[in-house]
């Protein structure tokens, strides 16, 4: 250890010539090792658990089986539950699209510059706050004698209770509230990419707004709409706290069934099989729409 080793100061010292690939590997390894430990290996373990008769803890020696996947056949009510989850997904996605696309267009048409940025931020802000707390907040509004009831009674005192907590509608309202900002975001990014002169051209050629919307805007906004739809549909079919909190006893979905397998029934192999079935559905959706998703991701990159 000499006292004076001014690193880099003496021009004569040859620069440490580490090959470039060593640096690249060193930079990438921690991240991908972490993701492997936290995500990829667990998913593999889940696939393994799903074909075992018992969870392989302690001295248990489980055997291979496909029985966990056959529950859909042996317990047909699960098919109903799966259908409920899919319906919830379709309904939420459709409502998000019906509100989100017009909202994105309104944002583009109704505001510009600083006001637009502020409004955009206000729309996105709730999305990055705690989803559980936002669902909880809906119970304050929807429960009997809640805010909605009060508002209705203030106008029509004799109206029956509008408390719709613990119903399918309550679940849908909560889910739309949760994912609407996402839909507005993806549609808005697609809309921003549309050249205004296209719309001007259509107008100067005498096209009216409905025609412009259907023939010019809609085809160009499809990638954003599809991305938004997937990013809504996928988490919705995997939701469990929303049906639990807002649906109460009617809130039985694939999500809550899987949650029960892990936290109440402790049938982990069956839970793993159900989780993995859901994962297969999710991956199939992503694979089907990967082209559209990539296109809209590129657009988001370009406009950011």
């Amino acid at each position: 250890m000499t006292a004076a080793t001014p690193a880099g100061a003496s021009a004569k010292a040859p620069p440490r010539a580490l090959p470039g690939w060593v640096a690249t590997v060193a930079l990438l390894l921690p991240t991908y090792a972490w993701l492997t430990l936290a995500v990829f290996l667990p998913l593999c373990a889940m696939l393994l658990f799903s074909v075992l008769t018992k969870a392989p803890f302690g001295n248990v020696h489980p055997q291979l089986t496909t029985a966990n996947y056959m529950v859909f056949v042996r317990q047909p009510y699960l098919l109903d539950v799966a259908w409920t989850s899919l319906k919830l997904g379709f309904l939420t996605t459709a409502l998000c699209a019906l509100i989100g696309l017009p909202a994105a267009m309104a944002l583009k048409l109704g505001a510009s510059g600083r006001l637009r940025s502020v409004l955009f931020l206000l729309i996105i802000l709730p999305f990055w706050t705690n989803g559980l707390v936002r669902i909880f907040s809906w119970t304050m509004v929807l429960r009997e004698d809640g805010f909605l009831d009060m508002a209705v009674h203030a106008i029509i005192p004799s109206a029956p209770s509008a408390g719709i907590l613990f119903s399918q509608s309550a679940i849908v309202i909560g889910l739309v509230h949760g994912y609407l900002p996402y839909m507005i975001l993806t549609c808005f990014i697609s809309l921003l990419a549309i050249d205004d002169s296209l719309i001007e051209a259509a107008r100067s050629l005498g096209a009216r707004w409905p025609v412009i919307f259907l023939r010019v805007i809609l085809p160009l906004v499809v990638p954003g709409l599809v991305s938004g739809a997937i990013l809504t549909f996928v988490p919705v079919i995997g939701s469990f706290m929303e049906p639990r909190i807002l649906g109460g006893r009617v809130g039985v979905t694939m999500g809550t069934v899987i949650e029960d397998q892990f936290t109440a029934a402790f049938n982990w192999p069956r839970g793993a099989a159900l989780s993995f079935t859901m994962l297969a559905v999710v991956l199939a959706i992503f694979a089907t729409f990967s082209g559209v998703l990539r296109q809209s991701a590129a657009r988001a990159d370009a406009s950011s």
Binding site: L28, A45, M46, A55, H177, G238, E259
Partner: protein
């Protein structure tokens, strides 16, 4: 047309903020049964100060969020630099591999982590939650830092190198200062992702070791009190401030690029 558009935006904003506002309002209402008329009171916030269960949960949440922000930012920034600069086969695959943590429903990732961690002896608890949170935050950090890197001029670093600086020194002395707004923004984002995470924490919690959202969920299912409103309001407030900080910083980063 403009008026109509603005009116619609207003309706959407009311829909988005109404329940949150009602919840926050009830946190300041004196009645424990959420009864009206509204009477201003801070008793539920005062009650929080002596609620050890909620305070411990809040401390755990803060701890994990800070640790997640530090770890995810270190790892994610390094990966973003390599993915942005190096050209090598399989780079696109590595990019795609960043998607599963954020694209697969948390229910699936969370249950997978639970059985894998339990099986391998990693177990459950704060450390397990930290492993999960960092994995969820890394892809966002890579995304944010990657955007920042596109705005940093490469020739400055080349100039430093041609003047005799080592590649490492050139990066730390030239590129990193320019990249700093993005890195801090990414750290804030990672902090918010961890603070807001419920599903993963829920499956990795043990009865004694919980985060704030997990404790809130337990309280909601047991029958809640305005105290839960109070702590929820604080939680939302903190996330919103952090995200506003993020938005401001990314804009500042953008302005820096254009200069």
């Amino acid at each position: 047309m403009k008026l109509l558009a603005r009116g619609f935006i207003l309706l959407v904003l009311i829909f988005l903020y109404l329940p949150i506002a009602v919840m926050a309002l009830m946190a300041f209402n004196a009645s424990p049964l959420y009864a009206l008329p509204f009477q201003f009171s801070t008793e539920w916030f005062e009650a929080l100060a002596t609620d050890d269960v909620l305070l411990t949960a809040a401390r755990n949440s803060a701890l994990i969020a800070v640790a997640t922000a530090v770890l995810a930012t270190l790892l994610g920034t390094a990966a973003a630099v390599a993915l942005h600069r190096a050209r090598f086969p399989g780079r696109d695959t590595l990019r795609v591999l960043l998607l599963p943590p954020i694209a697969i429903p948390w229910l699936i990732t969370g249950t997978a982590m639970l059985l894998f961690f339990f099986w391998t002896g990693i177990g459950r608890g704060l450390h397990a939650m930290l492993i999960g949170h960092v994995a969820l935050a890394i892809p966002y950090v890579v995304l944010v830092v990657n955007t920042g890197l596109s705005g940093v001029r490469r020739d400055l670093e080349e100039a430093a190198k041609s003047l005799g600086s080592t590649p490492l020194h050139a990066f730390f002395a030239v590129t990193l200062p320019l990249l700093l707004p993005s890195v801090i923004a990414a750290a804030l984002f990672a902090f918010a992702v961890s603070l807001d995470q419920f599903v993963i924490s829920y499956f990795l919690a043990t009865p004694g070791v919980v985060t704030l959202p997990v404790q809130i969920y337990a309280a909601i299912r047991k029958g809640f009190t305005p105290e839960i409103n109070a702590i929820s309001t604080i939680l939302l407030g903190v996330s919103m401030i952090v995200i506003l900080g993020f938005a401001w910083l990314s804009k500042a980063g953008g302005a820096l690029e254009r200069r």
